[in-house]
């Protein structure tokens, strides 16, 4: 009872201070146990998300970037409780959702939807497109029959597909079209928040541009908030308002996208941006070539996790883990020796 009372006051504080925070994570952790030894006792953990706090504001596009194994997808899934966080607290629209039951969570999930990377794997090949897009209504017992059919047609038109083709199967559509179907399904219930996990990474450039434009249009029309997970840095720069850079389960830098690309503060951000291939054959940029590869998250380095690959690492970096601290307007960095 006491705990519940405390929660309420915290909730109130949050909703009063920042009205426009849509999603907030406080000290979020997601550990995966590694079972080993004769009796499969848990000895170690993969710290995929390690003590991350962040806020996503209403109507913005927040992107997560980082190499594979940095924990960006796990963070995305943990934020929606698609994967139960090990520790930490989650707030959605000012309300704590960390320990909500299945039923209550289902209600909230109407407002949080996901678009996945693989437009081939994420649509059931045995279902007609109309059933795929209509399924959210079925599950939430919202619409049926003609009303549902009408809504499906509206949604198809909204994402630029011909409603006449609603009785076809996914394999009859191209990759880009399938991704549009995935988007139509995600916006069916009028959500506030969409997690787009590598949603455009598998598409060809010309198709990618079409889908990105569609996502931006829908954001304007429907007031959507996006959490965009991607490894293509140019597309992130185009679509985002703010970016979070992840390295081995830590958030190492957060900031406004253009400023951050212009003047990165963390050596890792700087390296990521400089190694990004530029569509300009004359660009002979100073490349910060990173030594080696991202270490295994089951056995991360001591101190700053980036010190093994960092060109600027000192003794302090090997011992002391830097905290994510505010640097300038809207920028936070976790580095003992930030570049700006």
């Amino acid at each position: 009872m006491i705990a519940a009372g405390e929660n309420k006051t915290v909730e109130k504080k949050i909703s009063q201070q920042e009205k426009n925070v849509l999603l907030e994570a406080q000290h979020l952790k997601k550990y995966f146990p590694i079972k080993e030894g004769m009796f499969k006792k848990n000895k170690r953990y993969v710290r995929a998300v390690d003590n991350i706090s962040l806020k996503i504001f209403e109507g913005e596009t927040f992107s997560l970037v980082g190499e594979s194994g940095s924990g960006k997808s796990t963070l995305g899934r943990a934020l929606l409780r698609l994967q139960e966080p090990t520790d930490g607290r989650l707030f959605f629209q000012g309300e704590e959702i960390t320990s909500l039951g299945k039923k209550e969570m289902r209600e909230i999930r109407k407002d949080m939807q996901v678009i996945y990377q693989d437009p081939f794997g994420s649509l059931n090949p045995r279902m007609k497109v109309s059933d795929i897009i209509g399924e959210p209504f079925e599950i939430n017992r919202q619409k049926s029959g003609k009303e549902k059919d009408k809504k499906v047609c509206e949604l198809l038109e909204l994402v630029g597909l011909d409603p006449e083709r609603r009785n076809r199967y996914p394999h009859e559509f191209s990759g880009g079209q399938r991704q549009r179907i995935g988007i139509a399904r995600a916006i069916a219930l009028n959500p506030k928040f969409i997690l787009a996990d590598e949603a455009v990474s598998a598409l060809d450039v010309s198709v990618q541009a079409q889908v990105v434009n569609l996502m931006k249009d829908l954001q304007d029309q429907l007031g959507l908030t996006y959490l965009f997970i991607a490894h293509g840095l140019n597309i992130v720069r185009h679509i985002s308002d703010r970016v979070g850079v992840m390295y081995l389960g830590h958030l190492v830098e957060v900031g406004e996208v253009e400023e951050m690309y212009e003047r990165p503060a963390h050596p890792y951000t700087s390296a990521l941006i400089s190694t990004n291939p530029t569509p300009d054959p004359r660009a002979k940029r100073e490349k910060v070539v990173l030594k080696g590869e991202i270490p295994s998250p089951s056995n991360p380095p001591s101190g700053c996790r980036f010190h093994t690959r960092c060109p600027l690492a000192t003794e302090r970096c090997r011992k002391e883990t830097p905290k994510l601290t505010p640097l300038a307007e809207g920028r936070k960095v976790a580095c003992h020796y930030p570049l700006i």
Binding site: Q210, H238, P277, T278, P279, P281, K287, V289, L290, E293
Partner: protein
């Protein structure tokens, strides 16, 4: 000047239940010694088919060369038997693929897979093969070579596996290395390492590289020459500078325009080429690009444009003069 590789009027058919499909048609290009040629295009453009045709690996995928020649050191690979080809593959011409996990055999150690290639093509003792294998691992920038030799592919990361693949491909000092999307599955940091490695190896050995990619950024970084393919045909080819400075085919122009920029002001909307690449079974009449082209005229609907010399490169477009002059419209 003759090239190391001259592909002339190459066409490839695939046998399917619904008849023959022309996967690539009338493809001609040249690779000079020490040159890096990038074949760029979207999925379904025929870029991988072209590389498989050069390696004569098509036969295993139900494809056949229906026309044209592949002159490698003045010998026509298209006329060779598979037995003759197996002496050329891995020896004079090597190929690396996108997914290094599936390309390596999971049940053999790295060392054994490296030595297998060396011993197959060269008459050397086991000791010499082992020595050569270790040299190769060093060449591609792998540390702890003694340990790595006895590890299995699953014990290595994606970037390491791609390095091993490159080492295997280089085992017999090939004159030509074909790399089919070698960095697509890798992170940007590792991609940059691999591209740097390929460039260094090219300098050291003077081999030629054909790199297949869908990423104009990668092409800009590594290519001397770019071949742009669309729906089975070459639409434009020229030096990397010619193509980036003044794209002359509307498709090249659109492709470059739809890449989000990494600096400068951000656009509200990305330029996008309308529509999608047509299926090879339902190719439009006339120019294959005309349904998506904003420069299309009556002639484009009727007649297919040939690949001709224009604006100091080769381009297949009836209206290229317009394309150079006008900006593409923002949709």
């Amino acid at each position: 000047m003759t090239g190391l590789l001259n592909v002339n009027n190459l066409s490839v058919d695939f046998k399917t239940d619904s008849g023959k499909i022309k996967a690539i048609e009338d493809v001609s290009f040249q690779v000079k010694p020490g040159e890096t040629v990038c074949i760029v295009g979207e999925s379904g453009s025929g870029k991988s088919v072209t590389s498989l045709a050069i390696m004569r690996l098509l036969e295993f995928e139900n494809g056949e060369i229906s026309n044209g020649e592949i002159l490698f050191k003045e010998e026509d690979l298209a006329r060779k038997t598979q037995d003759e080809m197996s002496n050329i593959r891995g020896n004079d011409i090597s190929i690396i693929f996108q997914e290094p996990m599936t390309a390596l055999n999971p049940v053999f150690t790295i060392g054994r897979q490296l030595m297998e290639g060396i011993q197959h093509h060269q008459k050397v003792s086991k000791q010499d093969a082992e020595k050569k294998a270790k040299e190769l691992l060093g060449l591609v920038g792998i540390n702890d070579i003694e340990d790595r030799m006895y590890q299995y592919p699953h014990e290595l990361s994606g970037g390491m596996r791609q390095r091993v693949m490159i080492a295997i491909a280089l085992a017999c000092d090939p004159k030509l290395l074909i790399a089919d999307e070698p960095t697509t599955a890798l992170d940007v940091t590792i991609e940059s390492q691999i591209l740097t490695l390929l460039n260094e190896l090219k300098e050291k050995t003077n081999m030629s590289i054909i790199l297949i990619t869908h990423d104009m950024g990668v092409a800009a970084e590594i290519a001397d020459k770019i071949v742009v393919m669309y729906a089975g045909k070459i639409v434009e080819q020229g030096s990397v500078y010619q193509l980036f400075d003044e794209p002359t085919h509307p498709y090249t122009k659109g492709l470059l325009k739809s890449i989000p920029q990494d600096k400068g002001p951000r656009l509200k909307r990305l330029y996008s080429i309308q529509g999608t690449i047509p299926s090879l079974t339902q190719l439009p009449k006339g120019c294959r690009f005309h349904p998506r082209c904003e420069f299309a005229t009556e002639k484009c609907l009727q007649e297919e444009p040939p690949l001709l010399k224009a604006n100091e490169r080769e381009v297949a477009c009836w209206n290229y003069e317009d394309v150079i002059k006008k900006e593409v419209k923002q949709t």
